[in-house]
């Protein structure tokens, strides 16, 4: 409702259309092959079992997002080397929706809440519910495994996600997978867990 009346119906249609489009037309993509690859400028080393698509635009300084069918249907975040005072995702909307910052004394459970707020701000999530929090590992470090459900504005789909976050040398590392519960989450989660299990943190 912040729109000017003369253009609001056109913009509403445009926004609605963008909402189901994988990415803007100018997005550049690179194929991620089935081999050991460095992600996030080498912050993480992972081995996918199938091909993915990596968007060139980074979600954070040392991070990347992969997808198979478009971000609306599946997205895999690989983010690392987030130090004290830095944000998990780029702080693009500082004046309106600032991102929470990493604090070096955070408990591992605080990382889950950090991710919850950061993810909600990045994707305008209206409802984020943690369904489980368990101890786990990521790159050989103690990690928190978080499963969650979330909702996007005006979206009837049940969306779910699974993330692991860990401290490594005073920096935060994250691998997160989120997708609609219907078909897409189940179709890739086993591979994603294997990627999480075998990841190395640098």
């Amino acid at each position: 409702m912040m729109l000017m009346k003369s253009s609001k119906y056109a913009l509403a249609l445009a926004v609605a259309t963008v909402a189901i489009t994988p990415a803007p037309a100018d997005a550049r993509w690179k194929l991620v092959k089935v081999e050991r690859v460095e992600a996030g400028k080498g912050a993480l080393i992972v081995t996918p079992q199938t091909e993915w698509n990596r968007r060139n635009r980074r979600p954070s300084k040392n991070g990347e997002i992969w997808t198979k069918d478009g971000f609306g249907l599946n997205q895999l975040h690989l983010i690392g080397r987030v130090g004290d005072g830095e944000t998990l995702f780029k702080d693009r909307k500082k004046k309106t929706r600032p991102m929470p910052k990493v604090q070096s004394d955070m408990l591992i459970t605080d990382l889950a809440e950090l991710f919850e707020a950061s993810f909600s701000i990045e994707y305008d999530v209206t409802q984020f519910d943690v369904t489980s929090l368990e101890p786990s590992t990521l790159g050989g470090e103690d990690a928190i495994l978080m499963r969650y459900e979330y909702a996007l504005p005006n979206d009837a789909l049940v969306r779910v996600g699974e993330a692991r976050l860990a401290w490594n040398n005073g920096e935060v590392y994250l691998i997160n997978f989120s997708a609609p519960e219907l078909h897409y989450f189940g179709a890739s989660i086993e591979e994603v867990r294997a990627i999480m299990d075998s990841a190395s943190l640098n």
Partner: protein, 388 residues
């Protein structure tokens, strides 16, 4: 779009609210005459109504819809009490879990109220003023007026079909028909008129907008930006909150009505959802505004749940001084007899972060006794073991 000047506002006051002004405070005003809800007349209008029916069908299945029967029937009752029982049956209210302060009204009678709006209300009268405002858009057929105007200049049905045809974008249709400033003023003043005729005081409308100004100002200071409330930049299509608070206060002064704000019933109705709604607000990383909201909601009647909320507010920001405040708040909530497991969870994690691990582990153990099936139980067990 220019501001309405005072003369225009005064004319609108007379046009909309004139007949009921200056009532004897002992003699409540009557509700304005009501004509039954509008029925679409031609094929385009019927198409528009059907499009909104389709949007409504999707809202009903939306994941973020709050289906709590008690809360839903409470809102309906407040609407009926504020606009009159002959009017309210034309409207269906849907409560959506969304922490932003918003509500919207469709021409087919679908009203959407965000949880972020409910979180910010201090009493039933303020809720009544918002519901009355949205209902006024419906009664004055504002969407229809926009539709009729757009129909003359564009193939609006193509736009409507396009938006509704996009599965994820259905609610954007409400943006297509967002109301203009004159309509917002009209709805504000009609809402004040409803309140003056109801058991609620019309002053509640102005109170609400004064608070929205204050909330944005504390947020602006924290984010080192200018406040949006004094000027119209806040919403192109809405009067600035400052302007709203002034003309609504003037209308309330003219009505000079008395009424019951009903603070207690509102708090009771919202109680089971309050912490969840507040946690959603905390996800916005909006500390100053969240602190302001809590202060306003708790007012001079801080209860145990408000101390839990205060603990969450400070623990989640996590600066060194916050840990002290959070610990005190959780302990106060427990002292006051809260049964919310979040109090023990929050206190335990706060103590652990303050490097008092054994104390924290003991408190977390109590949390697990109170919430053995909590979704984070495995993680908390690990935290307890790790401290030994």
């Amino acid at each position: 779009m220019p501001f309405l000047d005072k003369a225009a506002l005064a004319a609108l006051c007379i046009g909309i609210a004139g007949p009921a002004l200056a009532q004897d405070a002992e003699q409540p005003a009557e509700f304005p005459p009501y004509s039954v809800s509008y029925e679409p007349t031609d094929i385009d209008e019927r198409g528009l109504w059907q499009s909104f029916d389709e949007v409504e069908r999707r809202v009903k299945t939306s994941k973020d819809l709050i289906r709590d029967e008690g809360l839903n029937s409470y809102l309906k009752q407040v609407l009926c009490d504020s606009v009159g029982s002959d009017r309210c049956d034309a409207v269906r209210i849907y409560i959506v879990r969304d922490s932003s302060f918003n509500a919207s009204m469709a021409p087919n009678g679908m009203m959407i109220v965000n949880s972020g709006l409910l979180l910010r209300m201090r009493n039933e009268a303020e809720l009544a003023s918002v519901l009355g405002h949205e209902f006024a858009h419906f009664e004055q057929r504002h969407s229809l007026r926009i539709f009729q105007k757009l129909r003359g200049s564009t193939d609006i049905m193509a736009v409507v079909s396009g938006v509704v045809g996009v599965p994820i974008g259905s609610l954007f249709l409400l943006d297509v028909f967002s109301f203009n400033r004159d309509m917002e003023v009209e709805a504000d003043l009609l809402s004040a008129e409803y309140l003056a005729a109801s058991a609620y005081p019309s002053q509640a409308s102005a109170d609400l907008w004064v608070r929205m100004i204050d909330e944005d100002e504390v947020r602006a200071v924290e984010r080192k930006r200018r406040s949006r409330n004094r000027r119209g930049a806040w919403f192109d299509s809405h009067p600035a909150p400052k302007e709203r608070s002034v003309y609504l206060a003037e209308a309330a002064a003219e009505y000079a009505d008395v009424g019951d704000f009903r603070v207690g019933p509102y708090a009771s109705a919202l109680d089971t959802h309050l912490l969840t709604f507040y946690e959603d607000q905390l996800q916005r990383n909006d500390f100053a505004a969240s602190e302001f909201i809590l202060d306003e909601v708790a007012g001079d009647n801080w209860r145990a749940i408000h101390y839990v909320m205060e603990g969450e507010l400070h623990r989640k920001r996590g600066e060194p001084s916050d840990l002290v405040t959070a610990e005190d708040a959780y302990r106060e909530a427990i002292f006051r007899g809260t049964e919310l497991p979040a109090a023990w969870r929050g206190l335990g994690l706060t103590l652990m972060r303050a490097r008092r691990k054994q104390e924290g582990a003991d408190v977390l153990a109590t949390y697990l006794e109170k919430a053995p099936d909590a979704p984070d139980a495995p993680m908390m067990q690990m935290m307890i073991k790790g401290s030994q």
